[in-house]
Amino acid sequence: MTEILSLLGSGFAVALTPTNLMYATIGAAMGLIVGAMPGIGSLAGIALLLPLTFKLDPTGAIIMLAALYYANMYGGSFSAILLNIPGDSPAVMTAVDGYKLTRAGKAGKALFTAIVASMIGGTIGMVILTVMGPLLADVGLRFGPAEMAAVIVLAFTSIGWLLGESPAKGGLATALGLMLACVGVDLARGGSRFAFGLPDLMSGITFVPLVIGMFGFSQVMILMKDFRSQGQDRGLADVGRETLSIRRSVLSRQEFLRILPTAGKSGLLGTFVGVLPGAGATMAAFLCYVLEKRTGRDGARLGEGVYEGVAAPEAGNNAAAAGTFAPLLSLGIPGGGTTAVLLGGLMMWGLTPGPLLFSEQPEFCWGLIASMYVGNIICVFVAIAMIPFVTNILRVPVRIVAPVITAVCVVGAYSVDNTMFDVVVMLAAGLVGFFLTQYAYPTAPLLLAFVLAPILERSSSAAFEISGGSVSIFYESPIALGFLLVIAAICLAPPALKAARGLRRTKQPGE
């Protein structure tokens, strides 16, 4: 432990040099901007910035890129909360409660919650990374395809808790998400399925345009409908005459104490999900939201616009961003697309990611880890300073803001892959999202199913390929068996309890 502290100390000496501090600040500012812009995620941001960093020294370069990566998780929540357009896919769950808070005139506090929760989640992730990074990476390795399949089935089981008031409607939305996820690559054969001969559909429907449409564009239509029926032109939210100052956005002591346990729990779970192979920040945010919904003190109210609903996914995705660095640094294995690009960067700077990185380049590794502590604090200050500016958008009358959001939706959908096809997907998703919302079908289960289904398909098919088609692989692995037993318990416990209670009740009168 003392050794870790002294190494971390030397890391801080690296991270706090003026040059590296500057790189962290530049990275953080760019990450916030890139994250807030729908369609451009951390992957594209880092890929575009990477060639510019080849001339920098590796430590400075990765400090900047890592800052861009985790700052992205902060930025993604801005447009999710204010406009209901998740800037990046990990912010999808943030939009659910965040936007409801905005409409209720609590935008400033929602943003503040997101920032504070992000900081707590990120810091938890980094402390875990510092203290037990290599150990954590080893735990991740134990999760092979069979174990991952069991984890995803558990996640699917938990969709039930997100269904809202009508389980039938929620189930239908989930099924729709599954169907959409089936379009594209047929994993068993490598070819395409349900693509109807369209090359654009051959690799499936892209997630970001779907999200932008379902949330953002459908929101425009709802705004226009309300605007017509009310006939008066107001801003997005009733913010009143007073300016939205930082002071008015700060959470009260009581509110802060409410989100603290949420952020802590989500930070732990998020870090763990970030370490798993092929999972990532989006899944972490989903699972943390579900966890809070299930175990939170006020879980039942999640989805109606409560601060915990913002804190859980935001803490979760930041923790996951830190978690993905564990396998990257200690084994040279990227956990997702963004870290794969960072890995490419390490090689371009002449470093060899792998088990020897920590012992051969301690200055680089500990400098990076230390810079993540520093960078997170920088992110908090930059992000809080932005609150009064960004919340001004809420004053803009709907007749102006609606066309602007529409333009942002179109540009965001287009810029993912530079194709008009994604714009069509976004518009169609918007239309579907509008009717779903009008008839009270929840959209979150749809998106959750869409994200989880391909991972489930991939890991279960790989598990069967390993076992040669035998199901024994699922019960011979203690981890997979453990998860499957938990799933069975979750499914059977409520009806069993109900039955037991029923029995007792029928007995009582006879006594």
């Binding site: 992957l43 594209a44 880092i46 890929a47 990477l50 060639p51 080849f54 991740g140 390795l141 134990r142 999760f143 092979g144 395809p145 069979a146 690559v185 994993l187 054969r189 490598g190 070819g191 395409s192 693509a195 001969g197 090359p199 654009d200 559909l201 051959m202 690799s203 192979p277 092929g278 396998p327 084994l331 040279g332 294995i333 990227p334 956990g335 697309g337 794969a340 690009v341 890995l343 490419g344 090689m347 371009m348 002449g350 060899t352 990611p353 792998g354 088990p355 020897l356 990185l357 892959d417 530079n418 194709t419 096809f421 991972i455 991939r458 098919s461 790989a462 390929e465 390993i466 040669g468």
Partner: protein
């Protein structure tokens, strides 16, 4: 107009016509480099490095801009190129795996429809296993005849899959193909002992090889790769399987029906790119690639060999 003037004009016209092909082609506007993959991957890096070297070493007057057109693992970019037939201001840097996919997965537009321009680098394939799992490649191949040895890889209908099929066919093995979402997941599965062997590019497992956790058993190349880590690793050809040759070769294509003069221009330009120090050290060396250059004609022959001789193994395997 007198007869003699007409004659002179005719002669002049003929002379100009003859001089036409010799008059070197020069791009008259920006050249689009269409990358059939998202930003951040190997093909994207290849394209951006080419564009960067052309700019920094001032090898051309016009600017080369990289445009990503992902989708359908490359089918979207191929369909797009087909609509640009005869366009002399478009290049498509590509991995040979996508050309293989166009046949294995039967896309509408296929590799041979494009104009080959040059081959610029080679990314070798290695068979890797955990240290101590197998003594050498021969032991792994013998063990795989039982049908119980699993082979981790990251895509179907691609060059990875081709390497696997060729190995199974010619070495008479029954490796079990296990598909993952990317080479990082293959490495996780190998380290976690969920699969027995994996297929890797040098850059994908050089860290593990240096640390001694993963051992390269054999390469799928025609010659041994130089360098301390790789020079003792036999090729499968040496081990008695000369037909088992595969790699992720980096090729640059033009759209269908590109003008010959334009092909000659880009061929020469790319040759000069691969001769720069920047390309050699910052790109080839750092990414553990093997230097390779083939002109337009040789690239065409090379692609024809892969497509006609190796790709049919997909059909044979019932894929």
């Amino acid at each position: 107009m007198s007869n003699s003037v007409m004659r002179i004009l005719a002669v002049a016209a003929t002379a100009m016509g003859l001089a036409g092909p010799a008059a070197a082609f020069e791009p008259s506007r920006n050249v689009d480099m269409i990358v059939p993959a998202s930003a951040g991957g190997g093909t994207d890096l290849n394209a951006r490095t080419i564009a960067e070297v052309i700019k920094s070493d001032q090898l051309a007057k016009s600017s080369f801009q990289v445009i990503n057109r992902p989708g359908g693992s490359g089918a979207v970019a191929f369909s797009y190129a087909a609509t640009k037939a005869g366009d002399d201001h478009m290049l498509m840097p590509i991995a040979i795996g996508q050309i293989i996919s166009s046949y294995a997965l039967d896309w509408e537009v296929k590799g041979k429809d494009m104009t080959p321009i040059a081959t610029v680098a080679n990314d070798e394939f290695f068979l890797g296993a955990l240290k101590g799992r197998f003594k050498d490649a021969n032991e792994a191949i013998e063990a795989a005849k039982s049908g119980k040895i699993t082979f981790g890889s990251s895509q179907k209908g691609n060059s990875d899959h081709l390497a696997y099929l060729l190995l199974n066919k010619h070495a008479n093995t029954k490796f079990r193909y296990v598909q993952f979402g990317g080479s990082g997941e293959v490495m996780s599965a190998l380290l976690g002992k969920h699969v027995d062997v994996g297929l890797f590019n040098p850059s994908e497992f050089v860290g593990q090889v240096r640390a001694g956790t993963v051992v390269p058993l054999a390469s799928f190349s025609t010659e041994r790769m130089p360098g301390e880590l790789w020079k003792d690793v036999p090729t499968l050809a040496e081990l008695g399987y000369p037909e088992v040759v595969a790699a992720e070769t980096r090729v640059v294509l033009g759209p269908p029906k590109m003008d010959e003069a334009a092909v000659a221009y880009y061929e020469n330009l790319l040759r000069r790119v691969t001769e720069t120090d920047r390309w050699k050290t910052d790109y080839v060396e750092r990414n553990n690639l093997s230097p390779m250059f083939l002109g337009a004609k040789e690239t065409q022959d090379f692609l024809a060999e892969v497509i006609d001789r190796r790709v049919p193994v997909f059909k044979e395997a019932g894929f």
